[in-house]
Symmetry: C2
Subunit: 300 residues, 2 copies
């Protein structure tokens, strides 16, 4: 029997594309919010003995967690063979250590809680910092796919003479790979973070690349403060017509408008979080990883 | 060492009162929301080898669940001896069976998920319908305390000549007990529910009690539609000056104002969910049950 793919609200477009590539049935689960703030879930499709794939991006995760695990448990209750998660954006990757005494290491707690409900998961470029791989915190097969090549291809196709700009030294390796893929030179900015909303950025001399269009690349665009400060530093250095490309466009509050107003003439993101800026399609790489995980899970 | 009591945001007042009765240290955990919608938790107090009591009412539960379990896991990580939950209002008690094929039985999934993070819990009058006790779905000691006597005492002290009014036949036994405690007669309305927002109510002849003040009692006031229809039925039957008393004042959207506008001259609730209508204190009964559970847990 074909796998059954269920997309949570907000993930329907990506869900439809994934279902087509995975030759899965695409059903929209019934999710209803009661007046008292509780969530109702129902699966209007045959579940018994099938492989179920749930699609849910976990930006703004707190209110999404219970509906997501309720859907997974409903599938198990209805005797699904396996229940898996395609989670284009994975939450709670930041707090990966105890910076101050008494802090909760939420990345570990979240990973453990999520792992209980799925047989495997796949995600796009999780924010791994102190950790090398998801398997350090996830108790299930957790595959990572990379959007770098897709971003490089977009740059190649859309920006005639680009200069790739990395926002900080942490991202240098990733930025270098994107630049290689885009056949472009790159520079890396220096970032000093003084708090959630206070970031200072400086860029190296860009005079050798005056004729090039700067394309800032980043993994997550949340407040966009880093990119806004990078735009300003690039402008001070004489650049204009700056492009911003992100893997995950979270765009907290007015971040998108602020980045645009600061002078980013084009802002593009991957379709890991549904947003009008989605211009880079990661469906195929997600489907590829999902297909492999399904096969591996069957042969166990 | 004294127990450490941690109240989640919105539970600070009840938390302070409970800490006093339980002779516990009361610390306010640091809960911070990042711009990207993730939650940060930190406990600024000694946790190691102590009994931790977390206070969190679970009205509007979806966004509260992750911060709550993160706090519990942080306490465990910091080597707490036990981690318990005082949950004055317990969520997800409604969907206790599969009414239509494919539905999720969220009460069971929620109970299982919550049970994993605590050693015991205590709550006030959970909405048990098809189930006899919380132990059918909770895997930890889960004690229930009853607000009926406290409501009866409030009626005795505040309504000189009351007539207790139950909203439906399901509540008849509970309403009878409140009436006995308040030394008052009671009637029970007939309710027909046609949907979340469509309820039809009729009341028996109240002419024998024309001189009495009707006091409607209910376990949960959510949309208040049942009580609003009961007010109308009582008014049609000739009553005025109608009082509404609830255990849990959820008050979805404009429910409080609508109930007031319909003609409830006084609306009172227990302090299980912080709200200006809180007039009935359940702190002592919660503390009593918590003390017993702590003792039982120590002697195991």
């Amino acid at each position: 029997m074909r796998p059954l793919l269920l997309a949570l609200p907000g993930n329907e477009v990506l869900g439809g594309r994934l279902a087509a590539l995975l030759e899965a049935e695409h059903a929209v689960p019934e999710i209803h919010y009661f007046p008292d703030g509780e969530t109702y879930v129902r699966i209007n499709a045959d579940v018994k003995a099938r492989d179920i794939i749930i699609v849910c991006s976990l930006d703004r995760p707190d209110a999404k967690f219970l509906p997501l695990i309720f859907l997974a448990e409903t599938a198990k209750d209805l005797k699904a063979r396996t229940v898996a998660l395609i989670c284009p954006y994975l939450a709670y990757m930041r707090q990966d250590t105890r910076f101050k005494p008494g802090e909760g290491i939420t990345s570990a707690y979240f990973a453990k809680a999520l792992s209980r409900h799925f047989d495997w998961l796949v995600t796009v470029d999780p924010h791994l910092h102190r950790r090398k791989s998801l398997s350090e915190i996830y108790m299930i097969p957790a595959a990572t796919v990379h959007a770098g090549a897709a971003i490089a291809a977009w740059v190649r196709d859309n920006v005639p003479v680009p200069l790739i700009v990395g926002p900080d030294s942490e991202s240098a390796q990733w930025v270098a790979a994107v630049a290689r893929g885009a056949n472009a030179p790159y520079i890396v900015a220096e970032k000093q973070r003084h708090g959630d909303h206070d970031v200072e950025v400086s860029v190296p001399d860009i005079s050798p690349w005056r004729d090039r269009t700067p394309v800032m690349v980043d993994d997550i665009i949340s407040t966009a403060h880093t990119l806004i400060e990078t735009v300003r530093a690039l402008q001070t250095a004489g650049a204009s017509d700056i492009v911003a490309a992100g893997v995950h466009g979270l765009f907290a509050a007015t971040a998108y408008d602020e980045l645009s107003a600061a002078g980013a003439v084009k802002i593009v993101t991957c379709n890991t979080i549904a947003h009008p800026s989605n211009a880079i399609d990661v469906t195929a790489i997600l489907a590829g990883a999902a297909r492999e995980l399904m096969r591996a899970h069957k042969s166990r």
